[in-house]
Symmetry: C2
């Protein structure tokens, strides 16, 4: 990283111009930086005809809970490699990377300016019928084709060795599986649910299950995950959605990606108890979310099974009974990781707008308690539940 | 590998002399090559005072079923790294590596000339009471201290990335999990048990279980395994035993190492039906083997649990209930992989002297049938069995 320099807007324009033919020879370029400045610089470079690209540069530190700690800029390489791999496997729903520069830890990618962040849209109760089918296709294709069903042992090990991602995995190991289950200073807890949070710290039965889920996160490299599959990593418009921000990508348990996404839809469902006062409107949106969750799992599972039947290159894993059990195990993991995501977004460091935008803290506490309760149930009952409808039933009967 | 040259005895002497102070300044050295010549050259370098060392050089090909195929000499690095790591964790029972040379793919190591190969000793019905306790200590220490209980996520990933070992893992993937369950030309089947072997090829219920065990071999990097833990990889004498030959080492499921060793003791048990005609002598040796198997598991489990209680550095994994389930899961995997080893040593490519030394082919078929039957039972019943005594009961009631 000897030549690494934080980009100015001029650097970003030069970088974008140099590595893409989009702007043409006599374009007049402009540039704005609009990242949140904590982890990365994000520039939009645009010419006078309205063509634009994004330049994302990794900063050599992360700012979190007020303090700053060093964080490898190698994560830009990981993000680029994961996005390029996923884009080959599902070009319709992965942001396109045009160039990656190792020295500057910078990625040039398409600008999704006709898209908006899914989380903001869902908080505003916007609905997209194509959400679930498109993300089901993204998950099925990216996860299947990077698994042992599709890759030989040596090919998979080669990929895995390039994408171990120790530093960013460690962040997830801590924030997702450790902090919420103890009195950690990084936790961020609404005072009104402090008692509920404390119960998590002493729930040994729950801790045993979370330990299993963490052990699998550490040592079950089933497929190349996105690794941060929440509704802030998805851009959407009326026709399409695309996944971005893959710096947490690594080889891990398939259910982690699927479960993270399911949980983020559930967080929105629970958030609307406080976000949407009008009962009919709220119920209509919640019912939309349930149908999306159901469709997401069903279409993901159906496509994954289809790929297992038609595309499995590993003879030993072509066995029907094994494949059925594999799908059930992915479902079990999905519920478990969804439960962890619900809990850590409620009492851990990083919260979500779906709850934070509830201005009344008692109303927020109401949604938060349901998230903790549902999270715990999903983790504890994940081996008993066998269909996505049972999850929905569980949700309906929350106190 | 530009400067790589197959060692002559002179090269081996020079290499040993240069990288050890053992021989002193005016030693007269002699050298003999005594490897089987298929994978490696193995030299004993000795001085006139009787001090000696071993030089092991990896050949850039493997000879197998008559043909020769290229095989990375990087396996010498893997062997050296695994042995050095294991020797730090269990110096009493791991052969000591004095030097490793990357260019020549050569390892200088202690000469275990006062030791003999365990397999030959067991075939000759020799008995060693320290066998099980010492190997239990080797397995518990090497496997525990390279697991997620002892290493941080980033530390483990760093080790794992250095020891992916794709080429040698692929050999195991094929020979252990694929070939024995189909009509593969590499298989080596006693004509008298051909019908029994054929049953394996069409046993879909068994294939589903073997698929799970193979999937875990591919994607469950729990600890740094020896990877080839059979009785030909163990040197023994009246006081001690030491493990050698770690070129198959990689991060995999703990039960693979434990199960391989258990299976090799079981193969010897079954082999003596044909090796030892005298019933009393046979029963006495078999009873010795059963007590060693029992002790091996019990002491391994006890020491591993002790380490879990006292040395677990990962807070989330300190949970008692989780650790109990973890031990049960290791036991389940141990039985499953032991079953696979029994089957592949009977109908796969690489057989063992415990059976091959039975001169009468009908008698050999008798032992082989029991191995297939026991192997299948262990794989199929591994989730139901909860104690090592149940394995022994299973063995006693074999038809």
């Amino acid at each position: 990283m000897a030549g690494y320099q934080t980009f100015t807007t001029e650097d970003a324009m030069r970088f974008a111009d140099e590595h893409s033919g989009l702007f043409g020879d006599h374009s007049k370029l402009s540039c704005e930086e609009f990242g949140d400045g904590n982890l990365n610089l994000v520039f939009r470079v645009e010419n006078d005809k309205g063509s634009s690209l994004i330049v994302k540069q990794a900063l050599p530190y992360a700012r979190c809970v007020g303090e700053s700690w060093p964080l490898t800029t190698d994560r830009a390489r990981i993000e680029a490699e994961v996005l390029i791999t996923h884009c080959k496997l599902c070009p319709d729903h992965t942001v396109e990377v045009l160039h990656y520069d190792a020295e500057q830890a910078a990625i040039l990618m398409e600008d999704l300016k006709d898209y908006r962040i899914l989380r903001s849209e869902l908080v505003a109760a916007k609905q997209f019928e194509h959400l679930a089918p498109q993300l089901a296709a993204y998950l099925a294709n990216t996860l299947y084709y990077t698994s042992d069903f599709a890759l030989t042992g040596p090919n998979k090990k080669q990929q895995l060795g390039r994408l171990l991602n120790p530093e960013l995995c460690l962040i997830t190991e801590d924030l997702f599986f450790t902090d919420p289950y103890c009195n950690h200073e990084r936790n961020n807890i609404n005072i009104e649910i402090r008692n509920d949070a404390q119960q998590l710290w002493h729930d040994e039965t729950l801790h045993a299950e979370v330990a299993q889920l963490k052990a699998d996160f550490l040592s079950k490299p089933q497929a190349l995950l996105h690794g941060d599959m929440h509704s802030g990593s998805i851009f959407i418009n009326d026709d399409n959605c695309k996944v971005i921000d893959a710096e947490f990508g690594f080889y891990g348990p398939i259910g982690f990606d699927v479960g993270s996404l399911v949980a983020n839809l559930l967080l929105n469902y629970l958030g609307h108890f406080g976000l949407t006062a009008d009962t009919a409107a709220r119920e209509q949106h919640q019912s939309y979310l349930l149908s999306q969750i159901e469709t997401l799992w069903q279409q993901f599972a159906e496509q994954f099974k289809q790929l297992l039947s038609n595309e499995c290159r590993e003879p030993t894993l072509q066995n029907n009974l094994y494949q059925q059990r594999f799908m059930q195990q992915i479902f079990t993991d999905t519920l478990g990781y969804a439960g962890c995501e619900l809990i850590r977004r409620t009492v851990g460091l990083a919260h979500v707008a779906d709850f934070e935008h509830i201005t009344d803290s008692t109303q927020r506490a109401h949604s938060e308690r349901k998230a903790l309760q549902l999270g715990r149930e999903l983790i504890m009952q994940r081996h008993e539940l066998s269909s996505i409808n049972q999850l929905i039933t569980l949700l309906r009967y929350l106190k």
